[in-house]
Amino acid sequence: MRALKKEVVIIGGGPAGLEAADSLNKLGHAVTILEKEGKPGGKLSNWHKLFPDNVSADGILKQMVHKISGDIQLITNVKITKISREGTKHSVWFNEGKCIQAEAVLVAVGFDLFNASLKEEYGYGIYDNVITSAELESMFTGQKSLATVTGKTPERIAFIHCVGSRDEKVGFRHCSSMCCVTGVKQAIEIKKRLPAAEVMMFYMDLRMHGRFYEDLYLEAQEKHHIQFIRGRLSESSENPDGSLLLKADDTLAGSPIKVKADLMVLLLGFVPTDFHRKMGEEFGVEIGSDGFFSPCDAHLDTNSVKTNGIFVAGACTGAKSLEYTLADARSASLKIHEFLLQTTSANILN
């Protein structure tokens, strides 16, 4: 096996990148991870607990990072400037003139959370008590306190679904598929911490498609008395005391409603990163109508793209739960392994 040792560069040190690095390493390849932040983990590092079973995100991440040692090289604070190809060799350029060469490149750049300021009518960045689902997680992990801006314990909390998803007006038609369950998980967490609080969810329809997700929904209603209001928020405004007035259409009751809330949480959608656009424009990697990478075959080969030697894994091909992200990363590792074996035998024949 060792004789086959080939260089693989993984762009992105989130869950997909870490998992693929471990698998490829075990398959005998020399792996380098390029991570843009100061430490690996991606979005997982900012999360508190994971749905549906409430395990600690930190615990999972520790186990993953633990496997990245020994042969696997991890370079952090990377800003990639260019990728070029000569024959079968790929050169990845980063941080002003540094370059690393590889036989195969795995792109595992994940996703961005929708920039909530673009949905200006919801008031994010304008009204102080409008926060995002990511900011709520950091309140759970204790980085911030679970309170309004003035330090008050919120009595009424509203969650807004589909912010930056299923909304052509902001340019994203796709369902991010993970925010419904994230919202329900977060609502339950709030009720556990603040049992007296009133929690409302404004949703279009609930997409609780994963295993045990429906159980979570049932628990939210029966055990925690979380209110589910079917209707899209149309706009919000700020009362003089800093609380918010939400205007929505209750599509089940068929009438417009106005609700007061102390805190409003926006469940942000998953959107493609700048890296997606640039890989598309400058390297010809195919991009779908949602802006995420389109692999060669949506069923039979979800990890290769048309450009030879470039592979994709994880949420950069569309929103995925952690479970599916990791499975996809392992699948990509096998694809890359097969590819590297093929190029080796081709070389021997030549």
Partner: protein, 609 residues
């Protein structure tokens, strides 16, 4: 009596033309509103009539407006129109000098060389011959250019020209034949009977030996007469109807009778029939970028004339007004489209209005009407509130809770009558307040409050109001080194004429650069409420393309003055800060405290990965 059968096609054509024109114009005059008719009567015997005639001379004959767009194109139109006009006028003088009567049948001056074949001893005749040849040459040069333009429109400053209907094409071909046929007839006459000047006698001597004969002589006059007659008969059914109609429109405009009444009336008819389908306005229409190439004003007018309107042609328009500012005839394209869109069949439920309370328990000096769109961009509303507070103004926000739309979105989509209930309720609200000034953040509201509400309260857009507060020294502001570019919103700039106040405010706060397409040439952001036909993807495409054209390379911040522009540009996801003037001012007032939330992007991104 001087007569020959060949004059019949011309004479009959002329009679048909006059009967049709008279019938049509009388019908349209009768459908003028009382106000419009009163304006005609009141201004008929005033200097306005003279200034109308002057405009007719400058525009319909000399085509000054077209020359401003492109010299060559202007010359082409002038040589055809003014040249033909001169042929007729000088022809009359010449005829008078021979026959000493002004009461000749109208065909005499037209076919004068036929009826006056002999050379007279009069030295004046030689001069007339020379002048008439010169004018004919002038007209022929226009015909040659028109023919050349069909194949080389780029030289005439046009990217696109209109696609013409069969009737238009026939009329056009006939028109192209008229003057060469006149040249032929006069040259053959000269070859046989002598006379003529450098052109006709020159060509005549070339034709003398082979072509000129008794048969070709009479045949050429027949051909010339038939071409004229045919053209006259086709004129009312083709785009050439614009020639006589434009004259009437110019007079009506000078008499102040063209005020928009909200429905299809005589003025609409005169405007629609004044469009020559010249196509000069086409290049200004952004919808061409999306491949919508059959909805532009000339097509709308043409389909209206032919009673062939489709929903797409009527509705798929941004009402941005870009074509209106380029129209060389000055047709109010937006008003015409609005009139055509008017649809009284749709019913609208206004039940909620009954519950709106229009009483006031405070007595504000200034009313702030944020507008529906501004409620979707609360950053603007919050900034305006901060500005009122900083300037210590006694104001009231009138549409916070029970907001009623200003009505313009409905008006633009053809539901003007149905929007009246809202208009009246808003008026009641404004008038009950006792305030002297009404400020709004939305140019759409501004335009309708100012131009259609007939309020006895002063109406200002917030850019104008901030400009005033700054002049009065009520705001403590400091200039920064921020580099910004300003985008003129369609409704504020082109459609309301507010250009300078926003620029003054911005220039006092930041380094203002101008984009090449500014003021009345500004691009539409694509988000127009007047177009319900475009998909969100198409709107986004327009916005991205407009941004690309507006924002200079070294600039990261685009300042606008319309909540809709702001939202539309922001939703492109481009790395550019999109900021309203009110926000620019509020950030400055807070000494940059809230800057982060508005300025999302700090430096210009490099293009590489």
């Amino acid at each position: 009596m001087k007569f020959n059968l060949f004059v019949l096609p011309f004479t009959i054509g002329l009679l048909v033309l006059f009967s049709i024109l008279t019938a049509k114009y009388i019908r349209w005059f009768l459908s003028l509103s009382t106000d419009q008719r009163d304006a005609v009567i009141k201004n008929f015997f005033t200097l306005k009539t003279l200034s109308g005639l002057r405009e007719i001379f400058l525009e319909s004959l000399l085509h000054r407006n077209i020359s401003r767009k492109n010299r060559l194109l202007g010359y082409m139109h002038m040589s055809l129109a003014f040249g033909w006009f001169l042929l007729i006028i000088v022809g009359h003088f010449e005829s008078y000098s021979y026959f000493k009567t002004a009461l000749e049948p109208p065909y005499i001056p037209i076919f004068l060389r036929y009826f006056q074949q002999d050379s007279l001893a009069d030295p004046l005749q030689v001069i007339y011959w020379f002048v008439m040849d010169l004018i004919l040459l002038f007209v022929l040069s226009g015909v040659a250019l028109a023919w050349y333009k069909r194949h080389n429109r780029k030289h005439f400053g046009m990217k696109k020209t209109t696609r013409h209907l069969p009737a238009d094409r026939i009329a056009l071909s006939v028109l192209w034949f008229i003057f060469p046929l006149r040249l032929l007839a006069e040259s053959i006459t000269s070859a046989i009977y002598g006379g003529g000047s450098f052109l006709t006698s020159g060509l005549g001597s070339l034709l003398e030996n082979n072509i000129a004969s008794d048969l070709s002589f009479i045949a050429s006059w027949w051909a010339y007469s038939i071409s004229l007659g045919l053209f006259f008969v086709f004129l009312p059914f083709s785009r050439y109807m614009h020639i006589p109609t434009e004259l009437v429109l110019i007079m009506l405009r000078n008499w102040g009778a063209t005020k928009y009444t909200g429905k299809i009336d005589g003025i609409t008819q005169f405007e629609v029939h004044s469009c020559s389908s010249c196509g000069i306005c086409l290049d200004s229409c952004q919808l061409l970028e999306l491949g919508h190439a059959n909805i532009q004003s000339p097509y709308l007018f043409r389909n209206f004339r032919g009673n062939k309107l489709s929903d797409t042609v009527v509705q798929n328009c941004l009402m941005c007004g870009r074509c209106e500012t380029t129209c060389v005839v000055g047709i109010k394209t937006n008003s015409v489209r609005r009139a055509i869109r008017q649809n009284s069949d749709v019913e609208v439920n206004h039940d909620y209005l009954r519950h709106v309370d229009t009483s006031f328990n405070s007595s504000p000096d200034v009313l702030y009407f944020a507008g529906c769109m501004t409620h979707l961009t609360p950053g603007i509303k919050k900034s305006m509130q901060a500005i009122f507070k900083a300037a210590k103004i006694n104001y009231a926000l009138v549409d916070e809770d029970q907001n009623i739309c200003c009505g313009r979105p409905m008006m633009l989509s053809g539901l003007a009558e149905q929007s009246l209930a809202m208009v009246n309720k808003n008026k009641e609200l404004f008038e009950n307040s006792g305030a002297q000034t009404l400020v709004t953040s939305c140019p759409i509201c501004y335009k309708v409050f100012r131009d259609e509400y007939n309020l006895n309260i002063e109406v200002l857009h917030h850019t104008q109001y901030i400009d005033r507060l700054m002049k009065e020294g009520k705001l403590a502001l400091a200039k920064s080194e921020e580099q910004v570019v300003y985008h003129d919103p369609c409704e504020l700039g082109r459609n309301s004429g507010v250009y300078d106040e926003p620029r003054r405010v911005i220039a006092a706060l930041a380094n203002l650069s101008e984009s090449p397409a500014n003021r009345e040439k500004a691009w539409c952001c694509g988000g127009s409420i007047a177009n319900a036909m475009l998909t969100s993807l198409e709107k986004k495409e327009l916005a991205i393309s407009a941004l690309g054209k507006i924002v200079p390379k070294n600039t990261m911040t685009l300042v606008t003055a319309c909540p809709l522009c702001k939202k539309t540009f922001a939703s492109t996801g481009k790395h550019i800060n999109i900021v309203d003037i009110a926000e620019l001012v509020a950030v400055n007032l807070s000494a940059g405290k809230d800057k982060r939330r508005i300025w999302m992007f700090e430096k210009i991104e490099s293009a590489s990965i």
